[in-house]
């Protein structure tokens, strides 16, 4: 395989990709033109990043609200430390849970250490779904709360942080 891009080109490619993949029939050709490389090199670099786990897929960020999933709830639970991994893994696999993380308690203000996100079309549906889920997993005795969101302020889609400079890909 052709060697990938040089570090400067790789960084330029990453910056171009911050805005997303060009929406044209040959996106890697279009990117290659912008960074003065060829299509094969760009594809090879993309494969390399993919294999290194820098990105998992060329995918989408959905606007759940625009799709009618307006009942967005954060389920928080206080799980005994000895059980957190087991409970986290079980809830993480449950249908309807889109994200599941352990986060620290901040006593005395905050008692919960497991966070799950659930999206649904209707609030009562989401409530019923979560009650059923907790019952099924024998977790309904654990202290928990459901925090529904009532407003989403403008989100910036996917651009969370400035990319570190001078960090060429490994390998």
């Amino acid at each position: 395989m052709q060697p990938g891009l040089n570090a400067k080109q790789a960084l330029a490619l990453r910056r171009h990709l911050e805005g997303g993949l060009p929406r044209v029939p040959r996106p890697y050709q279009s990117l290659a033109e912008r960074i003065n490389a060829d299509e094969n090199q760009v594809l090879a670099q993309m494969h390399q990043w993919h294999e290194q786990g820098l990105f998992r897929r060329i995918g989408l960020v959905l606007n759940h609200r625009a799709l009618g999933f307006t009942a967005n709830a954060m389920l928080v639970l206080d799980v005994p430390d000895a059980l957190i991994d087991e409970v986290g893994q079980r809830l993480g696999r449950a249908p309807g849970i889109t994200l599941c993380y352990q986060r620290p308690r901040r006593l005395p203000q905050w008692h919960y250490n497991l966070f799950c996100m659930v999206h649904g079309r209707q609030r009562d549906q989401v409530e019923a779904q979560i009650q059923a889920l907790l019952k099924e997993h024998l977790l309904d005795d654990l202290p928990h709360e459901l925090l529904f969101s009532t407003h989403a302020f403008k989100q910036c889609g996917g651009r969370f942080a400035p990319l570190p400079t001078g960090a060429p890909p490994r390998g």
Partner: protein, 147 residues
Amino acid sequence: MDDLDRRLINRLQLGLPLVRQPWKVLAEELESSSDELLDRLHLLLEDGVLTRFGPMFDIERLGGAFTLAALTVPEERFEDVAEQLQALPEVAHNYRREHPWNMWFVLGCATQQRLSDTLHHIETLTGLPLLNLPKEETYHVGLYFPV
């Protein structure tokens, strides 16, 4: 949104194939054409049904620092504080939630130092105590959300 839009969204959530002409592959799978699918994608992004299409970089692997934070904002100050946060590029998104901790947002910074500076900055700016809840373990990240 029609059936093809839904099938396109569901298919793209699994990832666009990493090949020279990915839309040709998808067009065959979805029994459509590259041009039609690209047009659909443009519209879905323009209409705000989708907010991003492209590689989802694992920002933590790129060396960033992230956290989930919450504030208890008095009702009469809610909009003002939301605006203060919106002006900060480090704030990725911000939700109002029904709870005494009523404002929840994600912070993303290039370094850990920058993240703790930003947390202090928000406390100073708003005069409100802040809950800092960085992720300690990931059990599941939603990969697929059928529409």
